[in-house]
């Protein structure tokens, strides 16, 4: 059974006929341990889809199953939300407490975890995101990247199986972005399913699978490589190649042969080196 199953899901914000549906009967499923990127231009329904995946929104039609549990069932909603943790875009608007450790403890406190176990989870989660030394720091004084790592720690403390990032890096500087993505990559290697909503094509290159949305419909579902190779889909989804991909395409177009299909900077450098030899 797939970990997440989206079956014929439609979603409409206001119950009026004039407004277009944010999502139009889409279906897909995600297996445990996958690293999926969700892309598309603003207003395509990415964030709506994210909020449907952990029961913050209830689908207008169709069903969303997370680990087999229906997200529109009120009684099991907290089970869904604790399994599918979510990190939002603005680091300032998702911190509940003034002190870092109190914020990380918020999730497990809500779940009614034993105090001694909470302390352990807080320590473990902070260690996992590399923020142990900031345990008693004032959250508002941290940098954006650090705040987002705290937010991830807050999700980890609930022992989730799925991590949903809703443009979690879009307000960060390049360093913060890199820190957050390396933490996310590590989480994924530890077996947590990652769903990353992003505009950044370098982040897409990190994932194993991309789902591209346009006007509430899925227009692409495949590997990043396949997406980057298809100029037509990139154009339709209003997407751009990552810098590495752009460089590769330009090289190929000017007649330099690049054999592999890498999207990694270092590997590409190596290949260029090989072709020049």
């Amino acid at each position: 059974m797939p970990q997440i199953e989206v079956k014929n899901v439609g979603f409409q914000y206001a119950k009026s006929e004039e407004r277009d549906s944010a999502l139009k009967r889409i279906s897909f499923s995600i297996e445990k341990g996958e690293f999926v990127s969700l892309v598309g231009k603003n207003g395509c329904g990415k964030s709506t889809l994210a909020k449907l995946l952990n029961g913050l929104f209830e689908p207008s039609e169709g069903t969303v199953l997370v680990t087999g549990v229906d997200t529109s069932n009120e009684d099991t909603i907290f089970e869904v939300r604790s399994k599918a943790g979510m990190v939002f875009q603005n680091p300032d608007n998702q911190m509940v407490a003034t002190i870092v450790e109190d914020d990380v403890a918020f999730g497990p406190e809500n779940l009614g975890v034993e105090p001694s176990e909470i302390v352990k989870r807080v320590d473990d989660s902070l260690a996992a995101v590399g923020m142990t030394e900031y345990k008693t720091a004032t959250a508002s004084r941290l940098s954006g990247g650090q705040k987002q790592r705290i937010a991830i720690a807050g999700v980890l403390a609930m022992k989730p199986e799925i991590l949903i990032l809703d443009e979690a890096t879009s307000m960060l500087d390049p360093d913060g972005r890199e820190d957050v993505m390396s933490v996310v990559k590590k989480m994924n290697e530890d077996g947590i399913t990652v769903i990353n909503i992003t505009h950044d094509m370098s982040e897409v290159a990190l994932s194993q699978r991309v789902i591209a949305l346009k006007e509430g419909e899925i227009i692409f579902d495949g590997t990043p490589k396949a997406l980057f190779d298809s100029t037509e889909i990139l154009k339709r989804a209003n997407l751009d190649l990552p810098p590495v991909g752009k460089l590769k395409r330009t090289l190929v177009e000017s007649g330099i042969k690049i054999e592999g299909d890498t999207l990694d900077e270092d590997e590409l450098a190596e290949e260029i080196w090989q072709s020049l030899k």
Partner: protein, 284 residues
């Protein structure tokens, strides 16, 4: 512009006072404040001063940061003192001048004593209150308040909701202050003037700052609500706390110390009835 706001002014260090249970600190602060209003004699004020110095020493907070919060209310203190000086008309007259048929300007010894005592009282009150905010993190303070209000749950008072509202409010003070600065700068860049003109003009010039601030505060509230929902927030009994408040030997010592001080003040007021006459003969 907002630099003087002394709120959430926690001074991070470890001390006897820092490590007290926040509930005890809250209760003792209330006891101290009540006691201050029972002080009658200058001798008691002297004792209070010594008491506060001892507390500050044990809190390892620099005296300067305590005085800073006193500075914030200096204007209020001065105002209250002057009102007292001019409007208390009982006691031995020092200076008198008939201004109109219905009002005689008069300064009396009672007025002088009243304003001195009021000044001392207010300064001590702020000092006492600032010690608790300097030595307790806002989170522990809300934990303490939540725990103290627990009995009200019997009458269905939403104790937990109030506590979470308080801690979120505290959490967003620096964020919103930051945003205020940014908005002010953005409006200044467009030629807005905040420091010129009369009071009304100044107040009006704050509108282009306040409106965006309100709009953004609502947007933040909306996003925070989603974030809290996503982290399974629900105000039910099931919720636990990472930190359990525990009373220790320190709390007992502190309670005895403050209770001892309060007892002295009450005894001085109701039993000695003015030790001042003995200690400062001739003045009173």
């Amino acid at each position: 512009m907002f630099k003087d706001i002394a709120f959430g002014q926690y001074y991070p260090t470890s001390s006897f006072v820092h490590n007290l249970d926040p509930r005890i600190k809250l209760l003792l602060t209330v006891l101290f404040i009540v006691t201050i209003f029972f002080i009658q004699t200058y001798f008691s004020f002297l004792v209070t001063l010594v008491f506060l110095i001892v507390v500050i020493l044990f809190s390892r907070v620099p005296v300067l940061s305590v005085l800073k919060s006193v500075k914030g209310i200096l204007f209020l203190v001065l105002f209250a003192a002057i009102i007292n000086l001019f409007f208390v008309s009982t006691g031995e007259v020092i200076y008198e001048k008939v201004i109109t048929d219905w009002w005689t300007f008069r300064i009396t010894w009672d007025g002088v004593h009243n304003s001195i005592k009021l000044t001392l009282r207010l300064i001590f009150l702020i000092t006492g209150a600032s010690i608790i905010s300097l030595t307790t993190t806002p989170m522990r303070l809300t934990d303490g308040i939540e725990s103290l209000l627990k009995p009200l749950k019997v009458i269905k008072f939403p104790v937990h909701d109030i506590a979470i509202i308080m801690s979120i409010a505290l959490r967003f003070i620096p964020t919103l202050l930051d945003e205020t600065h940014k908005t002010i700068n953005a409006q200044k860049a467009r030629g807005a003037a905040f420091d010129t003109g009369g009071l009304i003009k100044k107040a009006k010039s704050m509108l282009p700052v306040l409106i965006p601030l309100f709009v953004s505060a609502f947007r933040r509230a909306d996003e925070l609500a989603f974030a809290m929902d996503a982290r399974c927030y629900n105000a039910t009994e099931k919720r636990t706390k990472m930190r359990k408040l525990k009373l220790g030997w320190r709390d007992l010592i502190a309670t005895l110390f403050v209770a001892g001080y309060a007892t002295f003040i009450f005894v001085d007021r109701y039993y000695f009835l003015g030790l001042d006459h003995v200690l400062f003969p001739g003045v009173f």
